[in-house]
Amino acid sequence: MTDNTSQAPEEPINNRSARLLVARAGALPWWAFLLALLFVYAFIRISTSEEYQDILDALIDRPSATTSDKFDVVYEVDTEVQVIQEALTLRQPDGTRVNIDIDDVEGREEGRLACDRQADPDCVDQFGQIVTYRVPAGDGDTPVGTAEKRGVLAPEGGLFTIVNFPNGSSIIIDPNNITSREEGTLLCNHVLQPGCQDLTGEIVTFELPYVLKQGLLLREDAVIRHPDGYVETVRPNRLSDVETQECTREEIETCFGGEYTTAIFRERVVGTEVTSDGENIKVRTVNEQTVFIPRERIINLESGLVECDRNANPRCQDFQGTIVAREGAVTSGELSLETNRSVSIIPEGQTTSVEIPKANLIQDEEVRSPENCRVEDEGACFITVKEKDSVVAGRIIKDTDEGITVQTVAPVFVELDPDEAESTRRAPLGCALNNIRGCNAGIWLTLLVTFVAYGLALMIGLVVGLMRVSSNPVIYHLSTFYVELIRGTPLLVLLLFFAFVIGPTIRDMKPINLGLFEFSLSGFYAILNDIEVAVLGEESFLSEAVLGLAIGYGAFLAEVFRAGIQSVGRGQMEAARSLGMSYPQAMRHVILPQAIRVVLPPLGNDFIALLKDSALITVLALPDLLQLGRLYITRTFQPIPVYLMVSLLYVLLTLLLSMMVRYIEKRFKLP
């Protein structure tokens, strides 16, 4: 078909382009219009539906202009703390667990704990750290020693001699074992149990015969106190430089048992790193929580002491704030689940249910339609419930005509000295234009993997394609071997092979010394890991996935390049050589430029195929578009809209890419 625009008379530009447009449109088949209508309809549905917006949010991390939440971090810093108590949890041979104080430990070693074959002939011996500890001797036991203990005699022991300890426990003893008595007070542990009662009475010192028992160490806990008074339980292996000093009775608040133990604790700061104005690293460890109360639901406002939310922030302090009494919310929708304790309702216009404890509902205000319907009934059961009036306490941070915003949990920021803090995790958070590394999941990961893998595949394909047309038998057979082997392996198998076979093998390989320089594949693997961390912020199977895809598609692209090169007439090469060009020069200046035209359509085709095959990386636990979709489904059980959306996004991407490819083809077209 000849292009007859060159023969048409000269027309004004806009007229001509208008006519071209109409001509082009007229040339389109009838179903193209239907498709266009479908897309427009889909676009409108999606942009107005909250459900689909939700799904889009899950699949695409839409970049905001800026974000100050840069990283999800874990830092470790050394702080000085007081050690109050250390306790161990052990598993006994009969399977039960027991807690013991570190003072009762006689010794520990790695070994095997023989289980109680008499109690359970089929039991299994356990391996691990065996702790030998002291236990009060019972009847029929032969004590191996006695330990001196102090406690206060319980006056109401009656027939039995009961001794109370300051930590709240008691024991029955044989009065003959008492070695001394005196009146006095034993201090309880005010740090561990603030407000506890000291024991006053007859302090008895007695010999407690003990036997030794053994148990398997399950966990070890130390209770520590920070300088700000916050007490927490931690693993003892995070403590170092433990020192014990004597203390005086005046320091009753921080001291007990006559001793004061300090240590250096490797504290973890977990939270979100935000942009800081100074040199210090600024981490937000507790996120702000707010509640919006519409003006019409406010019953009463008064100032008062607010008890802070210790679940959100264990270290918070109570403060003076505002206490707001608000009317209970009304929720209306389809009943999806009813248990003894709660009802779950899907509010109108939404897809996920809200769970409301029955204890919060006003029974008389519950309306069901049809009357007294239940979830199991045929047809939907609609319900309207009203919650009881409740109280919200915090600080008012915003006050408008619509209502007030109460901050129930204040954000907590921690500043760290970059020289002292060590980071164990620093993953980019939040996709934003000033935090591009945060755009590393969902559709962004799919695009990243596709483009990088294709770039690599192009290079591999070109090289191998050239090898495939070489007359050198070694080069030819090597490249043929690669092509046949890889083309014969399913892409999924290739990816798994790279991740679980090639990856670990390379990582563990010793560097090969080739005389002048060391050839280190494991070093190469380490570089790949560094790239992963630089790009995504954490290690993953990304490099294996990209390499797998690149090498897999490289085989196909090699054949495409070969076909392109061979499509250029033999005469071209002969002519170029006869002009005095070397083989590489001929290739570069004569053959390849002509081959490109032939090669572009199939290359574009393979590019789009790679985009779709990128969905395979989900098997390597990479959070690409498909995996995020599946994850969303497991949380909400809504497969239809999610898979529709995922397919739509893939189609959109392929359409965009194919438009791009067509544009490139046009640029290289012969006149």
């Binding site: 009847d139 008691s170 399950l218 249910s353 636990a621 959070p623 489904i633 059980f637």
Partner: protein, 387 residues
């Protein structure tokens, strides 16, 4: 033309015969149901070398079917769409080590619980020292199976990188290669995978993090299947079949919830002196009024009268329970016909500690406890004074 007509007639006849036969094969009862399972989760379900689906869940479901009188057809399927498929009727039921959660209850029905697992943390042996609780996972790469309760649990932890695999076996492989630092998954399955793959060099650390009650998920329209499953499950637990299946796959007895109920009480046999003593001590220690004690005291109390008979003495026993008297042994000596002396030894476990029986005697100021047989042949206690 004639052969064509003949063919048409034959086909019609065939169709008609099938159609008329169908209604007469009346489906009485449940018949055969399809049960979906993700057979990559040993020991609950997995595929053996011959391609058969085997496992604890499989045996249990077969036993339930046998008890209820229906047949089961198992279908191996992927995990992460299994509940959606069930809610649309692709299967009649699903048994796949599935934890009962409220979100899942919204779209399908669960049977009564048939197992209590718990999420545990598995780590390479080299890391067992430093990791044993949830807090220790901070900053680590933690593998989970996509869409399981382990996935949900790990996703809520702060500062943890969650790596989601399609199958948990892949995650263990990755941990064996050093790509993961830890795995959060159901205890029994992790234990099984670790036990069967010693070269993974992995261990389970710490204690179960959660309670995970497994249930059999049923298509909501098949209420007949749900009821049958619940009834049969209760039967299997009560008659000990459940315990047998459990023992076969786990090597130990199941927890008390899944064992035939046994009354755990101190039963007193009035004709056995030892039993009388135990009952007496239990009463002594938990008596609320003098009258309860006095019924055990014989007509002529001994002179020293150490046995509490006043409210003040009884108050001394307040709050003391006898938890376990099984450690007691008795030495019975006959003083004369119808009168014995009993010396208990061993340990009583009270809620305030262990009480050696010898200490009890010392505190009571007696050397032995004297029992006297009354006319009906029942033994009564008279304390024998210390010599």
């Amino acid at each position: 033309m004639r052969s064509k007509l003949l063919k048409l007639a034959l086909i019609l006849a065939l169709i008609l015969s099938v159609v008329t036969v169908l209604p007469t094969v009346a489906q009485e009862g449940i018949g055969t149901i399809t049960v979906g399972t993700n057979a990559e989760y040993p020991p609950f379900e997995s595929v053996d070398e011959d391609g058969n689906i085997i496992g604890f869940d499989i045996d249990l479901m077969n036993a339930i079917a046998e008890d209820a009188g229906f047949e089961v057809e198992f279908v191996n399927t992927k995990w992460d769409g299994i509940f959606t498929a069930l809610s649309q009727g692709e299967f009649d039921a699903v048994i796949s080590a599935a934890t009962i959660t409220e979100e899942r209850e919204e779209i399908i029905d669960f049977s009564d619980p048939y197992f209590n697992a718990g999420q545990v943390i598995a780590v390479p042996a080299a890391m067992a020292e430093t990791v044993s609780t949830v807090e220790d996972l901070v900053g680590l790469r933690v593998g989970v199976q996509l869409g399981t309760t382990g996935d949900e649990f790990a996703s809520e932890l702060e500062g943890v990188e969650v790596v989601r695999f399609d199958e948990i076996t892949l995650a263990f492989q990755a941990m064996g290669e050093g790509e993961l630092d830890a795995i959060v998954n159901d205890g029994p399955t992790s234990a099984d995978i670790i036990a069967n793959n010693p070269d993974l060099n992995a261990v389970i650390v710490g204690e179960p993090l959660t309670d995970e009650f497994y249930g059999i998920a049923v298509y909501p329209e098949r209420t007949d299947v749900l009821d049958a499953v619940n009834v049969s499950l209760a039967n299997l637990i009560a008659d000990g079949t459940y315990a047998e299946i459990y023992m076969e796959w786990f090597g130990v007895e199941p927890s008390a919830d899944f064992m035939p109920a046994e009354a755990v009480m101190i039963e007193v046999d009035p004709t056995d002196p030892g039993s009388v003593i135990v009952g007496h001590i239990a009463t002594l220690l938990s008596a609320e009024s003098p009258e309860e004690i006095l019924t055990y005291v014989c007509e002529e109390p001994a002179a020293s009268s150490i046995v509490p008979t006043t409210a003040e003495e009884l108050a001394a026993f307040a709050g003391i329970d006898l938890q376990d008297a099984s450690g007691l042994t008795f030495e019975v000596t006959e003083v004369e016909d119808g009168v014995v002396d009993v010396v208990p030894s061993g340990n009583l476990v009270l809620n305030i500690g262990t009480l050696p029986a010898s200490l009890l005697l010392t505190q009571l100021g007696i050397q032995s406890i004297r029992l006297v047989q009354n006319d009906e042949g029942n033994w009564q206690i008279c304390p024998a004074a210390a010599e």
